[in-house]
């Protein structure tokens, strides 16, 4: 008999079905036993008179008849709550050993380190598994939305010959006796490919040797990068980012409505458009609202990021805000300087619910200027041969941006810690297991 998914049984009252999945909870009523069976589509109650011993997470196959539950015993919490399976056969496909904690309840009230120590188990919980359905939707919508705008998807390398931006915090690899590095960003490659396809995007694994343990940083993240040429204005970059983020929110609202409900959240609000302010304007606003004077700082502090979002929400009914015109010194050497505002760049961050979600900007596309800017910052650009070639052989005015998929997932679901938005989070203390144990 063909397997039936649990979300397909409702219409089959009176029919014999074969189900398979995991035992989530068991209730022993003496001669008969009840258990909830979970598969990828949902959950259903099974009742059996067999004296088989079942525990949470056992993998079972059930053959039985779909029956209407006795009046008064329906469960309105689940979509199959009006029926149950009267099992004639329950077969254990794989027996689970004793669990370190109860997996049957609606919540897992455990510390995050414990959840991560038991990641292969805790991911199965009904509160945790859905997080990565949201992340899946975010990433897929990013791709689908850019395909509609004529972008070409590419695969960026992980191993790179030089540190792209001259920064620290890069992992080194022994590459056949040579020193190579792990990519912190596909920046140089996406710019090279603007020279080939004009409009490109990539979903990347980027690696950064973050030496601090915070709730906002990981050593390995999935970034969503886009870059495109022949822009007439740097504002087109923000328009494209706004189009994307709105598309992503719509997709999550549509595909993940149940999950938003489970987390008791809505997608961030954008009344009409995402407001755009220069860094100095943002600092002025923060000063006026809070009295905290950060008007001489070259960047926003985490507290500033939260405050400018509160302002945006209060005044513009937008939980997101673009902050632009960071000073030259705070942006990578390839960032375009605003000819109308010397010393400041045509760059921007998108701050969402108090945290940076995206960073982007127009790039220097003139070879001589690029070389001079690199030199001024002590970046040995001569080593990045392919990157230089792209500019030597004609590069249009262009720019782009990079999202962090974990930051967006965290932001949408209001998760306290970015580790919750990574399937297998890596930081300086953990790579699957705690490093001291290795």
């Amino acid at each position: 008999m063909q397997r039936t998914l649990t979300n397909q049984v409702i219409g089959k009252i009176g029919q014999e079905v074969r189900l398979a999945g995991w035992v989530v909870t068991t209730r022993d009523h003496g001669k008969i036993k009840f258990f909830d069976l979970k598969d990828r589509s949902g959950i259903v109650q099974v009742v059996t008179a067999s004296n088989i011993h079942l525990s949470q997470q056992d993998v079972v196959e059930v053959t039985g008849e779909v029956k209407k539950r006795p009046a008064g015993s329906e469960n309105k919490q689940i979509s199959s709550g009006e029926i149950e399976i009267a099992a004639s056969v329950v077969k254990i496909l794989a027996k689970a050993t004793e669990l370190p904690f109860d997996m049957g309840g609606p919540e897992l009230n455990l510390e995050l380190p414990t959840l991560l120590d038991w990641r292969a188990l805790s991911l199965r919980h009904s509160q945790i598994a859905p997080i990565f359905k949201v992340q899946e939707a975010v990433i897929d919508e990013f791709r689908v939305s850019l395909q509609k705008k004529d972008f070409t998807e590419f695969q960026a390398p992980v191993i790179i010959p030089q540190t792209a931006e001259g920064g620290a915090e890069v992992f080194a690899v022994d590459y056949f006796g040579h020193k190579a590095f792990l990519s912190q960003s596909p920046q140089f490659y996406k710019q090279i490919l603007v020279g080939v396809y004009e409009r490109v995007f990539a979903v990347n694994k980027t690696l950064r040797a973050e030496p601090s343990v915070t709730t906002r940083h990981l050593t390995e993240v999935t970034t969503l990068d886009a870059e495109f040429g022949f822009i007439d204005s740097w504002e087109e970059l923000m328009e494209m980012a706004e189009y994307l983020i709105k598309s992503i929110f719509s997709r999550v609202e549509k595909d993940c409505a149940d999950i938003l409900k489970l987390y008791n959240v809505t997608v961030p609000q954008i009344a009409k458009n995402i407001p755009r302010v220069k860094l100095r304007e943002a600092q002025e606003i923060i000063f006026k609202r809070t009295g905290r004077d950060a008007r001489n700082e070259p960047d926003l502090s985490p507290e500033d990021e939260r405050e400018i979002c509160r302002w945006s929400s209060d005044v513009h009914q937008s939980d997101l805000v673009f902050v632009s015109h960071y000073p030259l010194s705070k942006r990578p050497f390839y960032t375009f300087e605003d000819p109308d505002d010397p010393g400041y760049t045509l760059s921007f961050d998108l701050i969402g619910r108090g945290v940076e979600w995206l960073t982007g900007g127009q790039r220097v596309n003139n070879l001589a200027e690029l070389e001079e800017r690199a030199k001024g910052r002590g970046v040995d650009i001569a080593k990045s041969e392919l990157y230089l070639q792209a500019f030597r052989f004609g590069m249009p005015p262009e720019g782009g941006f990079s999202f962090g998929s974990e930051r967006i997932t965290q932001g949408i679901l209001n998760l306290a810690n970015i580790r919750e938005a990574s399937l297998f989070p890596r930081d300086m203390e953990r790579v699957d297991v705690r490093l001291k144990k290795v």
Copy 2:
């Protein structure tokens, strides 16, 4: 004026347009000059009376009128061949320096190392850029086809705490003073996630310290991995792989018809179904056809792979063939043994046009057996804690497979060297630049 793409000009005869792109070829006829302008959508001829000096790969913006070409001067090779742009203004957005080779012809007859030394330029060539449109279609169709089958996409980590399969050829990373590794495969993670989502897939960067320089190996590849649980038979795995490869061929035929024509190829033929033979049957067939006796070998040699494909093509009109039942010793420790054929595994390779495209099989899902099999192979599985958890807490019968996106792209376009199917190929001698130069 809004920019018009070159593939939109045909219907605009008599209208003024603004175009932007790269100069591909120039022809100086004294008082007037012709040049071909390329953008992401195509190519169009521009004629100008200006005395501007233009060279290949200059980035220009052209304003002018769309005109029908004089009778007899049409170019049937390009879709815009009946018209040209009579430019009133030609503005250089970025000047290209002198090219190391001519980029204006239909072919680039250069050695591969030279093409790779100038990768940022050579990728722009009309013969090379389309290769990665095929790869893009292959990867996208893999995802879309599995979404239709209820698979969940996940992001697999690059940095791993242990070498997954106990093999050599793994890159090591200094991870805050600890030793970590680069993932050679998302195998353990996709199996863990079968315990969560039943059916999963991922597009991965996988890294392998290939110590040999061949036309078939790279150190960094993009693999397409799928894994799913609750299989009733290992043959469902081959069915899913066959569904995918057929979907990919249809997509490439539909989206990349021009490119197949340019490369003078068709997608590989599959008359009806992909034939399936056991390794020993394949060796028997090869012996009968060629007299070469490899019947005691535990694997197919490259020459064997070519011959069994020739057989498949001759006898079954299929350019692909599944070879199954490799001996236990030649497959990873987690491979399921065939209870009806002891010593041999329920594993398979898909050989396409003489090269392995995919490898897969059913996995051991019983914890005790898995531990015993690992021990017998000297794999210290105890270190892979999360992987063990997945089996400790109930894992259904399951299996999966992994494609190499470069191998498929190479196979479809009949490219001589796998490096041609990687945007930025890495091997022991090159990471963008030749390593001896670093």
